[in-house]
């Protein structure tokens, strides 16, 4: 999505330009662009009358925010305790091998970002992988290979 200051302003106005809204505004911007563009941080600081350092600090502190563009597909592998004891680390290893990504990294063509999440609260279905709105349950290394292949095929069809 193309960046525009008007869009950022619209998000700020929706929550009101006050410090208490900072996190909510930043979450919406992060969601819209898949990351926090530098200009948006400057704009938020300016409109909320806060030092850039504070806004940047918050952006750095919370795990959800990314300061660099992320992939069109973001794959979240849950690393909660239940997922860990039921084989979550094997899923990450397989993805590292096959997608050549470490957690937190994005493919060069901006196809995919691999991220870990500390529990999505679907512990009964452990181990789980979340892609977009879909939670894939009881994932194994082989299942995640298949999922990766499907996502790649969808991407090929798209372009």
């Amino acid at each position: 999505m193309d960046f525009s200051l008007q869009d950022v302003d619209a998000i700020i106005d929706q929550w009101g330009p006050k410090p208490a809204s900072l996190l909510q505004i930043m979450l919406d911007i992060n969601h819209r662009y898949n990351y926090l563009p530098k200009e948006s941080i400057e704009r938020v600081a300016d409109r909320l009358h806060m030092p850039i350092s504070q806004v940047f600090g918050v952006a750095n502190f919370f795990k959800v925010f990314s300061l660099t563009p992320r992939g069109r597909v973001i794959m979240h592998v849950c690393t909660g305790t239940a997922c860990h004891v039921k084989g979550g680390p094997k899923i990450i290893e397989r993805l590292e091998q096959e997608a050549n990504l470490k957690p937190g990294e994005t493919t060069e063509d901006l196809f995919m970002t691999l991220e870990t999440v500390n529990c999505v609260g679907a512990c009964a279905s452990a181990p789980v992988v979340v892609v977009g709105d879909t939670t894939h349950s009881e994932v194994t290394a082989n299942k995640v290979s298949k999922l990766l292949k499907e996502l790649k095929e969808q991407e090929a069809q798209r372009s």
């Binding site: 502190f61 909660g80 860990h84 091998q97 500390n118 999505v120 939670t135 290394a141």
Partner: protein, 617 residues
């Protein structure tokens, strides 16, 4: 929606809803909880609704998406009322048959019923299934019954009657007294008496006071707060309104994790509905009492589950905690008196008000009253959410309700309390689970996560897992936590990699006690617990890692070698083809072997071998 201007209006509305419901012959309850949702439960709703519309009987039957039923292992779950027929593992293809036989007809679909493995008998009703029969579901009872997005459904079942009760003549002090009599203790992990907290907040000076709901359920492995907020958001909100009345607060915040988008959505929707009915806003139910509430999303920081860090984050600051010498009930959010409770605590309040503090206090143990919801997950057959009275023996939770360990494996330990908690080993399986007993065993209640571990779980690896979690999640404000936990992580990692030296265990112990003494916040002080408790009960596993360079549970990769059984190998070559490192060598039809130098121990060969010829040494 019409605004309710008096308590009578609420009663009239309830009667009206019940009257309208009389024409409904059957209700199809479809679980929309986290487990069933990820199993594809959502598609069932549309499928049932479509069939109802096609047959033109939509007015006689009702499809509702409820919150979590708890029995996540058997999801997606569908229950047909009024007979309460329980169907498990329902897929889209089953919908027409259920519809024909159990919705339109009064018959059963045998294949989808629960089978009691001990007796081999099929169980029809939800309450007769052992998983439910052994529980005491009070707080978590409505979640599976409630149409999670409809306030009318909550009101029809008696919702907001506790609010009506306090507004028809209970003084704030009387409400607090009732909560004190109940003996309710904070369900977020601290276990502080809720009534005492409310009383101090009420007594604090200040025009503006706040109620806050901590729905930043960061404890990995626990998801009861998610289930409550998604399933019965109004139960939580009603509790908060009652709390605000008792304390004298005029504004409230629900701080919910970003990772729970559905909970955020349902909470927002519930607040809007409550506002439209005049259950929030100015002059609630025609009285002088005014309160509004908002949902704030967190952004993925475990530390924000700590009350002062949460409040800092609400103010738009970094989520860093502060020293406990300033109490949040006096100076919390924006330095004003603030009362923070966890989702489960708030959800308990309407029941305590309606049924009385004495009733609540009659459940549980001497010092831990009421019930507790646990998420029983990990290596256990019946994974799911379980509510039992405080003091229930662990054995009952793991075996009678949880159905034991899958695959005939041996039970090893239960991890409770998340990264701040510890492990309860097999020898303490008869422990009566409450705040005191868990603490005595070196663990803690936490928010109620219970991760069951079997013989294949390495306790040193578990300790490393939690340390890794804590290194990532330490806010970095104080040195003991920021640096100390990192050092601990390095030591335990070296154990898992076979690089540890004698004396490392003693150094770990020293770090544990220093951090426990010197860290700033509760999370920092409890950060060494996963190591301290595993060291206490599983010292032999640590010794094996350090002294013998051996991982008894066969988890820590650098300590393992993969071997091929010459007797079983047929030389099919599948493992050779699948091995990404080219570490398997061998000619076709001849026994293969693994090059230890090249092997990265990924386990792909074991997964693919059809003959079970590959084993870990």
């Amino acid at each position: 929606m019409k605004r309710l201007n008096s308590i009578q209006d609420l009663d009239v509305l309830r009667q009206q809803i019940l009257e309208e419901r009389k024409s409904v012959r059957k209700r199809i309850r479809i679980c929309g909880g986290p487990g069933c949702h990820s199993g594809g439960g959502e598609r069932l709703i549309g499928a049932f609704q479509k069939l109802l519309d096609e047959k033109g009987v939509a007015s006689e039957y009702m499809v509702t998406q409820t919150g979590c039923h708890g029995f996540c292992a058997r999801g997606p779950i569908v229950v047909i009322e009024p007979a309460n027929i329980f169907y498990e593992r329902v897929g889209l293809d089953h919908v027409p048959e259920i519809f024909e036989r159990s919705v339109i007809g009064d018959d059963l679909v045998d294949d989808l019923l629960f089978v009691n493995e001990e007796t081999g008998e099929k169980v029809v009703k939800e309450k007769d299934i052992p998983f439910y029969a052994h529980q005491e579901r009070i707080i978590f009872n409505d979640t599976g019954l409630n149409w999670s997005t409809e306030i009318d459904d909550y009101i029809a079942r008696g919702g907001y009657s506790a609010l009506a009760k306090i507004l028809s003549g209970m003084k704030p002090e009387e409400v607090i007294e009732e909560v004190k009599i109940a003996g309710l203790r904070g369900r977020g992990g601290g276990g502080f008496p809720t009534g005492v907290k409310w009383e101090s907040c009420r007594k604090s000076h200040g025009e503006m006071k706040y109620v806050i709901c901590n729905a930043d359920e960061g404890d990995p492995g626990a998801y009861m707060d998610r289930a409550l907020l998604e399933g019965t958001p109004h139960q939580v909100i009603e509790g908060m309104i009652i709390g605000a009345y008792a304390i004298g607060a005029r504004e409230g915040y629900l701080y919910c994790r970003y990772e729970y988008p559905l909970a955020v959505k349902h909470a927002n929707r519930a607040l809007d509905q409550a506002r439209e009915y005049g259950l929030l806003g100015e002059n609630i139910l025609g009285t002088d009492f005014c309160l509004d509430m908002y949902v704030n999303r967190g952004a993925g920081a475990f530390i924000c589950g700590e009350s002062t860090a949460l409040m800092a984050s609400l103010e738009g600051k970094l989520g860093e905690p502060r020293g406990k010498h300033i109490h949040t009930v006096e100076k919390g959010l924006w330095n004003r008196p603030s009362n923070l409770n966890n989702v489960e605590s708030w959800a308990s309040i309407p029941l305590i008000v309606n049924q009385g503090g004495k009733w609540f206090a009659s459940i549980g143990t001497e010092r831990s009253k009421g019930t507790k919801i646990f998420s029983v997950v990990g290596k256990i057959n019946n994974t799911g959410l379980v509510e039992v009275a405080m003091g229930t023996p662990l054995r009952k939770i793991v075996y009678d309700i949880g159905g034991g360990i899958p695959g005939g494996k041996r039970f090893k330990a239960v991890q409770t309390g998340g990264p701040s908690g510890g492990c309860v080993p097999e020898e303490l399986i008869d422990l009566a689970v409450d705040f005191e007993q868990l603490k005595k065993a070196g663990s803690m209640m936490g928010s109620g996560g219970m991760i069951v571990m079997d013989e294949d779980t390495c306790m040193v690896d578990v300790a490393r897992y939690f340390l890794n979690f804590l290194v990532q999640e330490s806010c970095g404000k104080c040195v003991p936590c920021r640096v100390g936990v990192k050092r601990m992580h390095e030591i335990v990692t070296s154990m898992c990699e076979g690089k540890a030296e004698p004396g490392d265990i003693e150094q770990l112990q020293e770090l544990c006690s220093t951090i426990q003494e010197a860290a700033l916040c509760g999370l920092g002080k409890s950060a060494p617990n996963p190591v301290a408790s595993t060291l206490r009960y599983f010292r032999d596993e640590y010794d094996a890692h350090v002294l013998e360079k051996r991982c008894p549970a066969k988890v820590c990769k650098p300590l393992l070698t993969y071997e091929i059984d010459t007797e079983k190998c047929t030389g099919c070559g599948l493992c050779r083809l699948r091995c990404p490192e080219g570490a398997v060598i061998g000619a076709k039809k001849e026994c293969h072997c693994i090059d230890e130098e090249l092997c990265v121990r990924c386990g792909i060969c074991i997964e693919n071998c059809k003959f079970g010829a590959i084993y870990i040494e």
